[in-house]
């Protein structure tokens, strides 16, 4: 079970929050807007759904954030700003949240958006009949009865959410979550139109049927090719929306997407691995790289099925130390990625990167230390031979990094590494069943706070495929959930990880994009979760 713990970006400790309406594209004074206000971007794959209660992938959520609006939104730096809710209040020791809804919010068919729409949608999310892959979100939001409803033991109508009047939404929780309000920026909590859903069933999201309450309406959808959304004149803040039309094109190949970007067919695309330096040189104002909330690591199998040698911390450290990360970031990836010596990316909000000694050393010092450690453990050159398999999911990029790592370990430590790759779902199953020795891992934070990363390495975590277990880490992480300021706990956990080395951190991701010069200025690079809203964007004239 995922433990969605804290979102400290917004230190919301029960009181009233009335926020001035800071919303939509705030075009700075003096900016000359371009005549063409359309935005066309590339998606790697077709989204799975645009039904707020069903959507589970990033590309679908991007569309849902344009078509629908929840209680609260994020601004360009990830801060909370009002959405359909104008204000909210926590009471009863953070066990009750009351949201006041704006009266001018409308559905695209002109009907008012009321608190009952949220009640319906949240019940729908938990309802086993809906079978939403995000049903658990109601449970970690700690809504009353959510767990029993998902299990089918209670009726959806018993969910801890109610609408005393059309513009007041009251939520009752089973745990005092100080950060509850921030969770309402998640797409699964957005309203869906009851009448339309009931009339059309799963076909309600088709362009001819859909009714939505966001800044845009869906006008065209050719699956696997394009989806077009256009400005919604009924949106309450339409006057501040600048972008008229947003098109997402599904382009599976990174290279094809880049070619089409260069041909002027796209305003935004991902830069294929390794091409950033060249593009940055050629297009300094279009190639951008900024920190993301994601890490890339290798996990040791520390369970009984793992190799004996990995039970020795000196072996783990030797492998971690001798991996020269600069080769990975500067010669393989070349996209401004950060060398990682901690599990949590430095860009994470309220996270102080601990002073881990091995991160401070030079690579030569680390190599010397690694040789010392492996000799002490009695492995490698001159000791017992050490051989293991490095497993990753099939991809050219992962293969390059694995090859580099294997070579370094062979040269520096005399360790024999066999590379093995598996197709994604097979890989997940193999890793999940601890049928590996060393395996690739990567994680992107669900929210901007260190626990979204560090919870992975706790004993009860369902994602802890290496089966690392340290009681102190578990305690620090569980204390963090109720602590007023948990950053000290996270720093401490990272220090323990540097001692135990259950995983080898390799690098921290960056978002590496080509972005049309006209739109770069309004792109929310400061939002490390990359929750962007088209209504906040605008194109400036050349």
């Amino acid at each position: 079970m995922k433990s969605f713990t804290k979102i400290l970006t917004v230190a919301l400790i029960g009181s009233t929050f009335l926020v001035a309406p800071v919303l939509a594209a705030k075009v700075p004074a003096g900016v000359n807007l371009a005549a063409d206000q359309t935005f066309t971007y590339r998606a790697l794959d077709e989204h799975s759904s645009i039904d707020p209660q069903i959507v589970e992938d990033v590309s679908g959520s991007e569309i849902v954030r344009d078509l629908f609006e929840g209680l609260l939104n994020q601004d360009g730096d990830g801060n909370l700003v009002p959405g359909v809710a104008e204000s909210w209040e926590a009471s009863n020791g953070n066990l009750t949240y009351t949201f006041k809804l704006r009266k001018d919010a409308k559905w695209s068919n002109g009907d008012p958006v009321t608190a009952n729409d949220f009640v319906y949608s949240w019940q729908r999310l938990a309802d086993p009949q809906t079978a939403s892959p995000y049903a658990w979100f109601m449970e970690i939001m700690s809504l009353e009865n959510a767990k029993d409803i998902i299990a089918g033991d209670k009726e959806p109508s018993e969910l801890g959410v109610s609408a005393p009047d059309d513009y007041t939404l009251v939520v009752n929780l089973t745990a005092p979550l100080p950060y509850f309000a921030a969770m309402t920026t998640h797409a699964s909590t957005f309203p869906s139109p009851q009448k339309v859903v009931e009339e059309f069933g799963t076909a309600w999201t088709k362009p001819e049927n859909i009714v939505s309450n966001g800044a845009y309406v869906l006008t065209e959808h050719v699956p696997n090719e394009r989806l077009v959304r256009e400005r919604n004149p009924n949106y309450w803040n339409d006057s501040e929306t600048v972008i008229e039309k947003v098109t997402v094109l599904v382009i599976n190949s990174d290279d094809a997407a880049l070619t089409r970007y260069l041909a002027g067919e796209l305003d935004r695309t991902e830069i294929p691995s390794g091409q950033y330096p060249r593009l940055k040189k050629e297009f300094p104002n279009q190639a951008i790289s900024f920190p993301r909330l994601c890490n890339y690591y290798y996990t040791f199998n520390l369970s009984d099925s793992g190799p004996e040698a990995f039970k020795d911390v000196r072996v783990r450290k030797a492998l971690a130390y001798s991996l020269d990360r600069s080769v990975v970031t500067e010669q393989v990836l070349k996209g401004g990625q950060f060398e990682a010596f901690t599990f949590t990316p430095a860009a994470t909000a309220n996270f102080t990167v601990p002073d881990v000694a091995w991160g401070k050393m030079s690579q030569a010092e680390r190599d010397a230390k690694a040789k010392e450690l492996i000799a002490e453990a009695g492995y490698g050159n001159g000791g017992k031979p050490l051989a293991f398999e490095l497993l990753y999911n099939t991809s050219e990029g992962h293969k390059k990094i694995a090859t580099v790592a294997a070579q370094m370990w062979k040269q520096k430590l005399g360790v024999d590494v066999t590379l093995a790759n598996q197709e994604w779902k097979v890989f997940l199953e193999t890793r999940g069943n601890q049928n590996f020795e060393l395996a690739r891992g990567a994680w992107c934070g669900d929210y901007n706070e260190a626990s979204t990363m560090l919870d992975l390495l706790t004993t009860p975590s369902g994602y802890n495929d290496g089966k690392y277990s340290n009681a102190e880490v578990d305690k620090l992480m569980s204390d963090a959930k109720t602590a007023a300021d948990a950053s000290a706990n996270y720093t401490k956990v990272e220090e323990i990880l540097a001692q135990d080395m259950p995983v080898i951190p390799v690098y921290h991701y960056t978002g590496v994009y080509m972005l049309n010069e006209a739109i770069v200025g309004s792109w929310p690079v400061g939002n490390v979760e990359q929750n962007w809203y088209s209504r906040d964007l605008y194109k400036v004239a050349k």
């Binding site: 079970m1 995922k2 794959d45 077709e46 799975s48 759904s49 645009i50 039904d51 069903i54 086993p128 009949q129 079978a131 939403s132 892959p133 049903a135 658990w136 449970e139 998902i150 299990a151 089918g152 799963t202 076909a203 999201t205 088709k206 050719v222 699956p223 696997n224 090719e225 394009r226 094109l249 599904v250 382009i251 599976n252 190949s253 290279d255 094809a256 070619t259 089409r260 260069l262 041909a263 067919e265 197709e423 994604w424 779902k425 097979v426 997940l428 199953e429 193999t430 999940g432 369902g462 994602y463």
Partner: protein, 307 residues
């Protein structure tokens, strides 16, 4: 002849049933299911989803339910991955696209390939022959995943003549590059088969007789040589046609055409069971039908064959 067709159609039904059961079994045997993901679902949530899609039923029941629902309702079920769409939606949307660019690729491949083969055979060992052979070998060894990006660089980036991808309702500008990329290697094979079979026919006794009779060259070629030399080409065309109209992953991936080829591969990677089955059955039906068509054409062209 009529009895032959009936018999073949009769065999088609058990063939399809075997195909369904076999694919269903293989699919379920693959590790990982449609709802396996890096972010593992809590057991209760997973159970609800599996119940919704009938995956909680015993295997034999899933297979029979599936077949019954196809036979009685023509319903291939909901897509497990694209939750807003059914398999019928997926096929209805993707197949016409594939059919369109596949059909045009077929037309181009057949017309150019056959002409090239005939000319090469007639001008045996001349520069035209060498050119045709060189061209077809070149076209065959140049895979379409190499050709597609080269085409885009030339026509989109350098010349700026054609859009770099997309479908846009299948306007001709969007059709040209996919058709070139898809048809070339088929065209090359057809040319080579046509050339060698034409050469063989031209050296046979009945052509020598025709020549001895003093028939004009054109009559010899079109009246006597063409029909028998087409036979091996036709054998090749049945599967080639199905191959083209059921699409190509490379074309769909590189040109973002949205056809069924990419959908099929995606479905396999996503373990989207119902979409895998839907497209498998579609390809199965098309293969069986076109093999039958080829057999009928065969009988019509070759007097030696009678059913």
């Amino acid at each position: 002849m009529f009895r032959f067709i009936l018999k073949r159609l009769g065999i088609a039904i058990p063939t399809l049933l075997i195909l369904i059961v076999f694919s269903f079994t293989l699919m379920h045997a693959a590790p990982g299911g449609p709802f396996t993901s890096e972010r593992k679902l809590p057991p209760q949530v997973l159970a609800n989803i599996e119940a919704k899609y009938g995956l909680d039923q015993p295997f034999y029941k899933q297979v029979t339910n599936y077949i019954v629902s196809i036979v009685t309702k023509g319903d291939f079920g909901p897509s497990f991955r694209y939750k807003d769409r059914t398999v019928n939606d997926v096929i209805k949307q993707g197949f016409p696209i594939t059919l369109k660019y596949g059909f045009w690729s077929f037309v181009v491949a057949v017309s150019v390939g056959i002409s090239l083969g005939i000319v090469a055979a007639l001008k045996h060992n001349s520069w035209i022959d060498y050119f045709a052979v060189g061209f077809s070998i070149g076209a065959q060894v140049l895979p379409n995943f190499v050709m597609a990006p080269i085409l885009v660089i030339i026509f989109t980036l350098w010349l700026g003549l054609l859009p770099g991808g997309g479908w846009n309702g299948g306007q001709w500008q969007y059709l040209i590059m996919p058709v070139i990329a898809l048809s070339t290697s088929y065209m090359a094979s057809i040319a080579r088969i046509m050339r060698s079979s034409m050469l063989e026919v031209l050296n046979s006794n009945f052509i020598r007789t025709a020549k001895a009779k003093g028939l004009p060259n054109s009559a010899i070629i079109f009246k006597h040589a063409l029909k028998p030399s087409l036979l091996p080409v036709i054998t090749y065309l049945g599967p080639a046609f199905v191959g083209m109209i059921t699409g190509s992953v490379v074309i769909d991936m590189y040109f973002s055409t949205g056809g069924i080829g990419r959908e099929f591969v995606n479905a396999a990677l996503n373990r989207d069971y119902s979409v895998i089955m839907g497209i498998t059955i579609l390809i199965g039906v098309l293969t069986i039908s076109f093999n039958l068509v080829v057999d009928i054409i065969y009988a019509w062209i070759d007097p030696k064959i009678r059913y």
